[in-house]
Symmetry: C2
Subunit: 297 residues, 2 copies
DNA sequence: TAGAATTACGGAGGACGTAAGAATA
DNA sequence: TATTCTTACGTCCTCCGTAATTCTA
């Protein structure tokens, strides 16, 4: 179970082909074939079905571990590299779309006033934000999500990182202006299980998460929207393709849609800050700024 | 970052010696030295201080990743091995001490009545239970802990496993029979931050966890009790060495100590069941039995 | 039958052991 | 000075590429 073998394993399944995986990795087909054969011998089972290339049940099971494993490996390497890094004043901040509106924009406004810290903001899916922070492609991450008021966001294994609550606000849904529910003061989420939704896991609250917090099925969607483009999502919602859940402030700011607050169950939208252990001084400064505890105004 | 190198890395730090690590791993000292050198070259930093052997800051950082990494690697292998395993009727059940009292004993009483499933019960620390389930040394695990009433227990990353709530009960503290607070109907946890506690992370609720849920410091201890022996813990508590937090039923059943319920904050003690994906039929049967949904009575 | 994976085989590099050499308590 | 780690070096084995072979859509 050498990491190299595991990397070619995922490449093969990603490309659904030994040869293209080989060229992507800079190996020959032969080498890839040998890698897979070595893995299969080691584990004593066939992992990949050939022609067409597809995971066997065992391969699928392995695939549930390997990406996390390789990520953690990269995280370890990055974590050590960070130790000897000289503090830069050019910081990379990765955030999910709703985190940008609820926290980052406001924080950066305060930044202009007083510091000489340069920030590059990168808007990504939640998973990609975590990846970026773990692998040191970003100095700081902001992730948004919904939970019961006192709970932390359920984040996957983050290793030795710290998460801090950066902002909380009510949850809302966006819907077309002429939607029958658009005039309501607030809505109950369980009443919306049968509505038509847009599944926009990278930008809005993932439908899967709505099902979990409501302990209910439903929340079906005909359209899936990938990417971090909230305005595009709003356009789809405005055109009547379905609802989407967002923090109230973002929902209100979007054009051509109505924003209605979710009144029940008691849920909040929270943005959490994720940062590696032992942040450098500029990073710590930015953290303080975002948390609003900084003397800089 | 070959897994072999990482394994010798942890062995070296565990044994605080290259030579004893070598013999433990079945290598020569030379090989171990080369392993460490290879890792250090790869990562570009010294990881281990020699004579005496100790982790450098970078080594300590690496050490925060490696055990989890190696565990996940073993979990992947075990997960695949389980696929081709023939269902046994001899099941290994790993549980934390309080889980035994709250769930297992009762469930196994029902087991005697109707099935031909053989169970081996193993009482371990929470971490060891998780390890056993992930690496298939146990077919099923039960872990106890405390949280706010509707929250799940905060378990570390478990990969593709499922957790289910198995039992809930009030939280209590045990104290000497002649303790001034022993006659109380209930106690508030924040009032006990300044008391003397026994830190028994393997058997009772870890003090660290009490601090987290109370959002308070304190809960200091002079005695640390390792191991899964609840009666030993009770003896220490009875002798006045400090308090310990346990589920009410276990606390009540222990000899020579008073059990007082924790009234605030609103916390529950919950036992959760951890099992791998796709359990075999006998395992599923045992799960149903434990959850009380089984027709077997 | 063509496209694609496997097998055979050889060379380069890596890994481990033996043994001699440095370093430190 | 004794113990412990490092370095040198030889051998064996592994890994990858080339090329011939087998498989299957």
């Amino acid at each position: 179970m050498d990491p190299h073998l595991l990397r070619t394993f995922v490449a093969v399944l990603d490309h659904r082909s030994f040869s293209t995986a080989a060229s992507a990795l800079g190996y020959t087909q032969s080498a890839v074939s040998q890698h897979i054969a070595a893995l299969e011998t080691d584990l004593g089972t066939r992992l990949v079905e050939r022609r067409p290339v597809a995971p066997t049940p065992a391969g699928a099971r392995l695939m549930e571990h390997v990406p996390a494993l390789l990520l953690r490996l990269d995280a370890a390497r990055a974590d050590i590299a960070r130790l000897n890094q000289v503090p830069t004043t050019r910081l990379a901040l990765a955030c999910s779309p709703a985190a940008l509106g609820t926290v980052v924009a406001r924080a950066l406004a305060r930044l202009r006033a007083g510091t000489r810290v340069d920030v590059e903001v990168r808007v990504l899916s939640r998973e990609a934000v975590i990846e970026d922070v773990l692998t040191a492609r970003a100095d700081l991450g902001l992730i948004d999500g919904i939970t019961a008021p006192s709970d932390p966001l359920p984040l996957p294994d983050l290793g030795p990182t710290t998460t801090l609550a950066a902002a909380e606000e009510p949850l809302a849904v966006i819907l077309p202006l002429d939607h029958p529910l658009a005039e309501r003061r607030s809505l109950r989420l369980p009443d919306l299980t049968q509505a038509q939704w847009i599944d926009a896991p990278d930008s809005a609250v993932p439908l899967e998460r709505l099902r979990t917090v409501c302990r209910a099925d439903g929340f079906t969607s005909r359209i899936r929207h990938r990417g971090t483009d909230l305005f595009g999502l709003a356009a789809l919602a405005a055109a009547g393709h379905g609802l989407a859940a967002l923090p109230l402030s973002s929902a209100t700011a979007l054009p051509a849609v109505a924003a209605v607050r979710i009144g029940a169950p008691r849920l909040i939208h929270r943005t959490e800050l994720v940062h590696p252990a032992n942040p450098t001084a500029p990073v710590r400064q930015l953290i303080d700024l975002i948390l609003g505890t900084s003397p800089i105004t």
